[in-house]
Amino acid sequence: MELRRPSDLAELDGGVFVHGGTEVVPLLNDGLLSAETLVDVRGVVPRGVHDGVIGAGTTLGELEVEPGIPDALREACRLAASPQLRNMGSLGGNLLQATRCWYWRLGYNCRLHGGDRCHAREGEHREHAIFANDFCASAHPSDVAAALIALGARLRTNRRELAVEELYRLPDEADRRTTTLENGELILEVELREVEASAYLKSMDRKAWSFPQVGVAVAKVGGETRIALAGVAPIPWRIDGIEALDAATPLPRTEWKLPVARAFVRRALAQLG
């Protein structure tokens, strides 16, 4: 395997991008990702926070103590992973992490891997999705993605600008991917909007190093209240209001997520004032 360390965007030419390595290295070890060339993008992705723009190379550990960002994002970073992982993991990488669905991680030939069934639906699924779970019941693990969507943030890649929401797509029969990122496309910056208030609440089954059972991000942006959830659908999930939870389609062992989501949405909205 070859490791490249470009210092200029112009040098990018294929390969698998790696930043902190907290996701890519385990996937390589488990054979879920194969790469002849690894591209260490730390030399080309901006890092740090300036005037509402966050370099995608900023680590979660840096953001959790950053006073100049909205509460929801700072909390989402603080509650994610473990201190060791937050010290390595980048904001951009966090948005692109794959599901924690154990069937997918163990390489079952499930729909996300191109197969023709979702093993979790009939199998063990207590941590899985309660929305959009018909084709694939995986749950999206990124706290940060839900926070950024609630905050109405936008991304700049080496090819385009887009809303964070537009980064994600539900997998379907024709296309099993969960992001719209193209080959060779690299997230460079996250642009925040002016936010009046925001909050992130997260249900965890231990106090650190727990992916969201349910994560709830809320924000008041330009007079609008935006809500986005983590851990409830194959991609970060936006809802208009608490009543939207009535439309959830939980599986038998994920029904418990609904009262948790209701309580957290209510509490998060109350925090907005």
Partner: protein
């Protein structure tokens, strides 16, 4: 004088009759209370080595020319190998040898769980060995899979004959009782998840096999390897200097050791076989799940008149039928007790002993049931426990029992509940719960130690025992230092190598201190007596400091030897304790937070109070994981372990640790050995889950029936309590 006796030996609640040679132990116990060294807090002897990274664990060992092994494991839960071809593996780069079913103990062509070992490869690197494993051509015939323990019981598919017990007349007592409570409890399968995975390095030197292994029982590995390979026992040398956790799962050799030995023989090179984390989560053992269908009956004055229990241990493909019914038989003075215990043989990974096997699960069920009884009797749970205090163990005298004293010391913690309740609000409900603990922990013979003292006045304790991370080196050094009247820093302990010292007991079943400590003290006393004789000959007082007596010895040495004496005959040796737990429950989301644990334990004399409180804290933290977040999940279709990484299998983090208050009764068991000390490894994990569940009941009225108490289980219990309250309330007019 050596004496041959027939005695009952207990390990992990399992008994066997054995012949042993014991040496009488004429030493009087030290008086109660802290001594010069024993009974005072001592930091770890090996602490600096560990934090500097100098301590050499099995996983650190790299022998010259060492090859790496990988193991092919079954993807099916029940299957037969129709054909296997190792040739494609052997053709790959770096591969030195490959073996298949029957070629090493533990490699089989008939497998009963997903993850069972079938074949193995040795290569220059682990990656090469893994690639070779993937290249092995294998054809399977799938067989019928049974994963449901109740289904296995219906089919009478058992790992051992069902165990039945009855005293008194349970049916009659149930019929005549004033109050009967009934509940079904389920506990999950949990993983030991030792930091250091199971592993061994085998190296042939002439006709001797050196086994470097992460183990809780050096001599058990020696004997099992020698027996399986049909070798003289002393031609197997077993080394384990430092060990990264075992919790009951590392009591014997297992397939990786035999794979390494066979591949080492075939290649003429040392071979390391180390499980990956995913293999560790599958093939290294687990605490089996249980189903407990229980009833208890009492008179209105709180006298418990009957216990009735049907216990199903979901043992797995191999393992043993642990004593889940033990607490029901032993904890209370109850005339009528009936139990049946099924060991369900199912196509799941093997059960192995896990820190108080059976009693952890059984205490959860029993002590939750007792609180349900207290609620129905409208009686204080502590009072109910006291009222049914057992003075004997089913009629057998108990060598020492200070549970009443534990209850007395629990009172101030129990009294806090009024203040704890007052801190509840609309969302967070707070409560206090308790549970009692009973377990073994008396250890036993044989075990031996030597003590060597040089003219520098330093002593070295030599015994081929293992320190499994519990602070054994320190405790043994303290005992020797006390007996020799030496400061602790003048005593070293050499252990961890069967070629360097005499036989030593297993470190399991809370037995290391009670088994080894008396032998170490006896050896130190033997040396001390010799030193006193020399002092007398030099015209010094008999109790002159050691270095003054031995300073002219030059290269001469004082050699002491000691053996573990017998256990008291006709008595049960048991440990006791009580936990009082404070919890907060978010009644909207089902989140449970353990806020405070008071743990009061009676394990006889405490050797090292600092080490002892570490044991209690560790047991409680591990128990909180068992109670709230850990769950070994299987795919219901394939029987494959789904939670095989440390992010999906959730052990508590340091952020989850509550305030823990440890107290010890610290009263020597006057019948037990020259120390009066029992073991503490297991007791602290026994009562914690029931105490947490009882605190949840106190806080919310919800009755917990299942471990782990996930959000799902907590919300179910809250919902059920709400429905029950509605039914019980007077109809609205």
């Amino acid at each position: 004088m050596a004496r041959l006796i027939r005695t009952e030996k207990e390990v992990e609640g399992r008994f066997e009759e054995v012949w042993i040679v014991v040496e009488e132990d004429p030493l009087e116990q030290w008086p109660e209370g802290p001594r010069e060294v024993v009974g005072k807090p001592a930091t770890r002897k090996s602490g600096p080595e560990r934090v500097r990274g100098e301590a050499r664990y099995t996983t650190d060992i790299r022998l010259a020319g060492m090859l790496q092994a990988a193991i092919l494991r079954s993807p099916y839960a029940h299957a037969r190998v129709k054909s296997i071809d190792l040739a494609p593996a052997l053709a790959l780069p770096g591969v030195r040898a490959a073996i298949g079913p029957g070629e090493a103990h533990g490699l089989s062509d008939e497998i009963g769980y997903s993850g069972a070992a079938v074949a193995a490869v040795a290569a220059d690197t682990f990656r090469q060995a893994q690639a070779a494993i993937d290249a092995i051509a294998i054809e399977w015939e799938e067989l019928e899979v049974v994963l449901d323990p109740d289904e296995a019981v219906r089919r009478e598919q058992f790992t051992a004959d069902p165990r039945r017990y009855e005293r008194g007349d349970v049916e009659k007592a149930l019929a005549q009782a004033d109050v009967v409570v009934e509940a079904t409890f389920r506990t999950q399968s949990v993983l030991h998840n030792s930091m250091e995975t199971h592993q061994a390095i085998c190296e042939w030197v002439g006709d001797t096999l050196n086994v470097y292994i992460s183990t809780q029982f050096i001599w058990g590995v020696r004997d099992a390897v020698a027996e399986t390979l049909e070798m003289p026992a002393d031609k197997v040398r077993v080394v384990c200097e430092f060990m990264g956790g075992g919790f009951g799962s590392k009591n014997g050799p297992d397939e990786y050791t035999f794979v390494a030995a066979e591949l080492a023989k075939r290649t003429g090179r040392p071979v390391r076989a180390a499980l990956t984390r995913r293999e560790e989560s599958t093939a290294a053992g687990n605490r089996n799940a249980t189903i407990q269908r229980l009833r208890a009956a009492a008179r209105s004055d709180g006298t418990i008149v009957a216990f009735d229990g049907e216990f199903t241990n979901a043992v797995g493909w191999t393992g043993w039928n642990a004593s889940t019914e033990g607490p029901m038989k032993m904890l209370y003075d109850c005339e009528n007790v009936r139990t049946v215990t099924y060991g369900a043989k199912i196509n799941t990974p093997p059960m192995k002993a896990f820190r108080a096997p059976g009693f952890v699960e059984g205490t959860f069920g029993l002590e939750c049931l007792v609180d349900a009884l207290a609620a129905k009797l409208d009686m204080d749970p502590l009072e109910l426990r006291r009222r049914n205090y057992a003075a004997t163990n089913e009629g057998t005298p108990i060598s020492s029992k200070e549970l009443e004293e534990c209850y007395r010391r629990a009172e101030p913690h129990w009294e806090r509940r009024h203040e704890v309740h007052s801190r509840s609000d609309a969302v967070w409900k707070r409560g206090v719960g308790m549970a009692s603990q009973i377990w073994y922990g008396g250890g036993g013979p044989p075990s031996y130690a030597w003590v060597r003292i040089g003219s520098d006045g330093r002593a070295t304790v030599i015994t081929a025992m293992q320190d499994i991370g519990t602070g054994t080196r320190t405790a043994m050094a303290q005992i020797a230092a006390e007996e020799l009247r030496l400061p602790l820093d003048r005593v070293d302990v050499v252990l961890g190598d069967s070629a360097r010292g005499p036989y030593a007991s297993i470190s399991a079943g809370s037995s290391t201190v009670p088994s080894m400590g008396p032998a170490v003290r006896a050896a130190a006393a033997d040396a001390r007596e010799q030193i006193e004789d020399i002092a007398e000959q030099r015209g010094l007082p008999r109790d002159a400091p050691v270095h003054e007596v031995v300073d002219l010895l030059e290269d001469a040495q004082i050699l002491g030897k000691g053996a573990r004496g017998p256990n008291p005959t006709g008595m049960s040796v048991l440990t006791f304790g009580v936990h009082v737990v404070e919890v907060a429950v978010d009644v909207e989301t089902g989140e449970v937070v353990v806020e405070r644990v008071a743990a009061i334990h009676d394990v006889g004399r405490i050797i090292n109070p600092l080490g002892a409180s570490s044991q209690v804290e560790g047991g409680i933290i591990q128990g909180i994981g068992h109670t709230l977040s850990e769950d070994r999940l299987l795919d219901p279709e394939t029987g494959r372990v789904l939670t095989s990484t440390l992010d999906s299998y959730r052990m508590p983090t340091i952020a989850d640790v509550p305030e823990i208050v440890c107290e010890f009764v610290d009263k020597p068991d006057t019948h037990l050995t020259n120390l009066g000390a029992k073991g503490l490894g297991e007791p602290p994990i026994v009562p914690i889950s029931a105490a947490i569940a009882n605190a949840i009941r106190d806080a919310t009225g919800a009755e917990i029936h299942e471990l782990p108490i996930s959000r799902e289980e907590m919300l179910r219990a809250l919902e059920a309590a709400k429905r029950k309250e509605k039914r019980g309330a007077p109809a609205a007019v």
